[in-house]
């Protein structure tokens, strides 16, 4: 099975490289791209079925080989655990959506476009599959390049400005992340006397001194927070989305933003648990501000794409809140929210693209009564909208309620404030539906759902329904990995506590860990006050 993972990860890159030089027509290019993304999706799905949920904490299908000549400690190490598992099929599925949503809209330079999409797919899959920190960072930065060109070449009128802003802003952040990662590797070397770049080894066995944790945390945070994007580092996002071609928006919102939240779970939480706890009031404030502010901004937009872009900021705020709640429900909800937001928002951008293909406008006021012209497309759009606003039975509800439960346990007020986002979300999304889909018809006749549009949206809607109806399928493999992360965090926190309170000599047992970490912030969120009561 390890080979399947290796092939799935690199197949798009190889195919993309071949496509870039092969003398193919536009229609052949898009068929080739569809075949490659579909094959990748099948391979990834096989991995999901082969994954052993009970062993979700341990990386499975691991590949481990040297690849830099002369540097044996830097490895080509791949593998999936419960945290990264579902992000793989999400990426593979959304790449299919990206190819299909460009089916007619990309006319010029199709060869270059599709090869960039394929190259980007490898970058995204690689980030989630990487078990080596060097490999991770290479993939992490590498994703910027194809997307930069996709926005900069096939984008709208302000594509150059958008592409440069997106590139510089995210690069600036991730340079700081690199410093944080380098520090970690060096710290490990000092503690254990060997060099390792293995992510599982680093996150479990690096003890970052408490006095350095906040700095390392902030360094990691800088890059991840801009990617998410956490309020107020979000302003590159609406611009990039509005200017990007549909496929770019689908992958940007659907997958690229998740690199940030994935980084939080993968690195920030286990490496700097004490700082993560100390930072909770700040992070929660930013997350809740993002939820409310993103929703309010979305409400005031007239451009559908901008509206969906701001709604992303709101939904990703939920995700961050859940992750930093530091308990099982919050983290599980946060990880599931990554998948759910990717599905719903990715599909939503695809739908905006489908409307744009027909009517060449993204302004809400130009639309009206499209449901009578495009009944099938609008049914799918309504399913996606309801998935986005957290309707039970669809995926968004499960992750949002888990996040709220988890966050409420940690800090009641922030969860309660975040819950207002659910009301605001319903308001602006249903207003959008009311103005664009319903009411008197204001748009000319157009062909309803075409085959490639159905092929893009129906699978996404089906997965949304599956997650909503039976979330246990998706949560089961996650939980061991989350418990593992919380255990790692707790062993460090309790080590710190036992140091600072050595005269009392009380160390919590690991069995209490899951609950106690959550209870750290109960009440007013002041960690210091609670620590003294342990």
């Amino acid at each position: 099975m390890s080979w399947v993972l290796l092939i799935a990860t690199f197949l798009p890159l190889v195919a993309g490289a071949i496509l870039a030089i092969a003398p193919l027509e536009r229609s052949a290019c898009r068929v080739a791209a569809l075949l490659v993304t579909a094959t990748t999706f099948v391979l990834v799905t096989i991995l999901c079925f082969a994954f052993d949920p009970a062993q979700g904490a341990v990386p499975q299908f691991t590949v481990d080989m040297p690849w830099l000549p002369g540097v044996s400690s830097v490895r080509l190490a791949l593998g999936l655990d419960g945290i990264s598992l579902w992000l793989m099929p999400l990426t593979a599925l959304l790449c299919i959506v990206a190819v299909l949503s460009s089916w007619v809209s990309i006319e010029e330079g199709a060869r270059g476009f599709y090869s960039l999409i394929l190259v980007l797919e490898t970058g995204l899959l690689g980030v989630f599959a990487a078990l080596d920190v060097v490999l991770f960072y290479i993939f992490f930065e590498f994703t910027l390049i194809p997307l930069f060109f996709i926005i900069g070449i096939w984008g709208g009128e302000e594509r150059r400005r958008a592409a440069i802003k997106f590139f510089i802003y995210t690069l600036a952040g991730s340079v700081l992340t690199l410093i944080g990662l380098v520090y970690t590797v060096v710290a490990y070397y000092q503690q254990h006397g060997t060099w390792t770049f293995s992510i599982p080894e680093l996150v479990t066995n690096t003890r970052i001194p408490v006095e350095h944790q906040m700095l390392v945390f902030l360094a990691l945070f800088a890059g991840f927070a801009i990617k998410v994007p956490v309020f107020p580092f979000h302003t590159w996002l609406p611009l990039a989305h509005v200017e990007a071609p549909t496929a770019g928006s689908v992958l940007l919102a659907g997958v690229l933003l998740k690199l940030g939240t994935y980084g939080f779970v993968r690195f920030s939480l286990p490496l700097t648990p004490v700082a993560a706890q100390h930072a909770f009031p700040w992070i929660a404030t930013l997350a809740v501000a993002g939820v409310v502010y993103g929703a309010l901004c979305a409400m005031a937009q007239r451009d559908i794409k901008r509206l969906v872009a701001y709604s992303s900021i709101s939904h990703m705020g939920f995700c961050v809140l859940g992750l930093f709640a530091l308990n099982e429900q919050g983290i599980a909800g946060g990880i599931l929210q990554m998948v759910n937001h990717g599905l719903a928002t990715g599909a939503m951008f695809a739908i905006v693209g489908m409307l744009y293909d027909r009517y060449h406008t993204r302004m809400i006021e130009d639309y009206g009564g499209t449901a009578s012209v495009l009944p099938k497309l609008i049914v799918l759009a309504m399913i996606i909208i309801f998935a986005g606003i957290g309707l039970p039975g669809l995926n968004g509800f499960v992750s949002e309620i888990l996040i709220l439960l988890g966050a409420f346990k940690t800090h009641k007020l922030s969860a309660a404030l975040a819950a207002t986002g659910i009301v605001l979300g319903a308001y602006y999304m249903l207003t959008l539906a009311q103005r664009v889909f319903f009411g008197e018809r204001r748009t000319p006749e157009a062909e309803d759902l075409r085959w490639y549009e159905a092929a893009a949206l129906v699978p996404v809607a089906a997965v949304c329904l599956w997650i909503g109806l039976y979330p246990n399928t998706f949560l089961k493999p996650m939980l061991p990995a989350i418990q593992q992360t919380l255990r790692t965090m707790h062993s460090e926190v309790s080590a710190e506590v036992s140091q600072t309170r050595s005269r009392a000599g009380r160390v919590l047992t690991v069995g209490d860990s899951v609950r106690s970490i959550g209870s750290v912030f109960e009440g007013d969120g002041s960690q210091v006050a609670r620590t003294s009561t342990w």
Partner: protein, 656 residues
Amino acid sequence: MLDSLVNLVWLVPLASFLAAALTWACGRWLGRMVWIPCLAASAFGALWSLLVLIRVASSAPAAVLVDVFSWLQVGELDVTVRLLVDPLSSLMLFMVTFVGSLIVLFSVWYMAEERGYARFFAEVALFLGAMSSLVLVANVLLLYVFWELVGLCSYLLIGFYFTRPSAAAAAKKAFVVNRVGDFGFAIGLLLLWTLTGTLHYDQLLGGDSPAINSLTPPWITLIGLLLFCGAVGKSAQFPLHVWLPDAMEGPTPVSALIHAATMVTAGVYMVARFFPLYQASALATGTVLAIGAFTAFLAAAIAVTQTDLKRILAYSTISQLAYMFMGLGTGQIVGAVAAIFHVFTHAFFKALLFLGSGSVMHATHGELNIWKMGGLRRFLPVTHWTFLCGALALAGIPLFSGFWSKDAILAAVWEAEHGGLLVRVALILGLVTAFLTAFYTARAYFLVFWGEPRDEEVAEQVRHYAEDGHPGEGQQHGPAEPLTMQVPLIALAAGAVLLGLILALGTGGLVPFLGHSFGYAEAGEHGHHPLLLVVLSSLLALAGFAAAYPMYATASELPARLAALFRPLYVASSQKFWIDEIWLYIAVRPMLAVAAACRVLDTLVVDGLVNLVASIPAVLARVFLRPMHSGALQFYAIGMLLGLAVIVILVVLRAS
């Protein structure tokens, strides 16, 4: 055999869900027969739940818990789909499926001309599945799940005629207003879970030490009030009642099923379900009573001057639901039982009135203004007689079913008189509302069915319709009142006439049955009906009905003169006390203004700061490194790598 009836009760919602899926998937293939799955599922549900109800009623007081499957399991959060069959849920289940199947039968005829016939039955079947699940599930989170799902069906069916802008707006309004209430519900749920660690009814309310007993009084009050927010939204109580009158944009059978008989009673059901929790907090029950009494009066006062038949019925629904909350707000078991009794009788007579007005609408070709109707009893005899039964029941005329249940509520309030000023005011408002209810019901009835047609065009439509069963021009469409619409009307009319009598007297009242609902304490003294109160409320109802006769049964100057005499009151009532406008100006407009401000803030300030920071290197470069400033991208990239290298070297050196 009998126990497997109860253990397999999940078949009832499942059948409806399957019917919804089947209708949606095979709608085109089924053609005009697309109603079959929905009707079959609801009839099956009605039969099954009747058997379950009989089983529950005949056995020793017991609640049966049925685990179906584990839905969501994360750490100590355990959401198992567990069903609770007890007197309360089995009665609600029977009501939903029985009234539901009659309304579905009526819709087969009523909706036959509509585009989207299949969509209608798919959505109604989905609603019936969600509503039966709502009353059965034994977990607060799952209650919330189905609570939202019935809201979805309400949204979809209000917006059934989605090309009408008013319908699209009403659908959104209903969903969003409900979400405002559900915000409170959600916080209450979170609080309940965080404080007790469980969301299962059996652990919260049942057993030797129910988890709610471990809560301190302030928390109990807070949770009760938060959950009640959800009920206020769903059951359209002041100040969140504004969505229900607009919801009348939906097809009339939907108004009957969702916005009168079943979904809107979910709030009452919820408070009854958590009644032990409410009983533990005088503040929570007092709030329920106050909101109930005020809403009952307010909605009745609005209904008196409305001219749209369906909106009159909508306000009367708000008012009647408020009566139910008054019963719950007494904090007495007898009050809660009376509330559920009223839920049950109201479902029959209000569904009947809505279906009757649907028949009227068909005859008048969609006209709803009662001042344009008149004399319809000659053309629609079955509709007329059944509507009269419903009107008498709603008005609370003695012996009709509404009389018994409303009287039981007022009696419970009367008995709770020692509660002080609030209870006394509530009782007075309840009695005034009884008079107003009878008055506006009679007003609508007389204007529609008595006298002479007031509008030539409508009269022409009706005549045409009575002759060939089809409004206006068009081909023959059978009789005006075919059997498929008569059967539901007559069955519901029988309920409206007899149900109260049977349930109030036949088996010694409902208290011995419903009083043993899950988690309820011993009821103690069964409710008396104080004679003075019975006489008083009967007289008020009769007076209200009688007062409308001279004003509306014949052409009269009296209504206009009265309106002129009490002009400010009349305007306030006909403008619905401007509550919609108040919401617009204190909530919607400010929110949109803040949103617009955020939009500007985002581009000017937040992004402006980013651009400012980003321009610093460029400015520096221009000043100091002008030759190097050739192209932005390369410069930044190189600069960053160089800077990075320096930092890394420093960090490594310092660390070692």
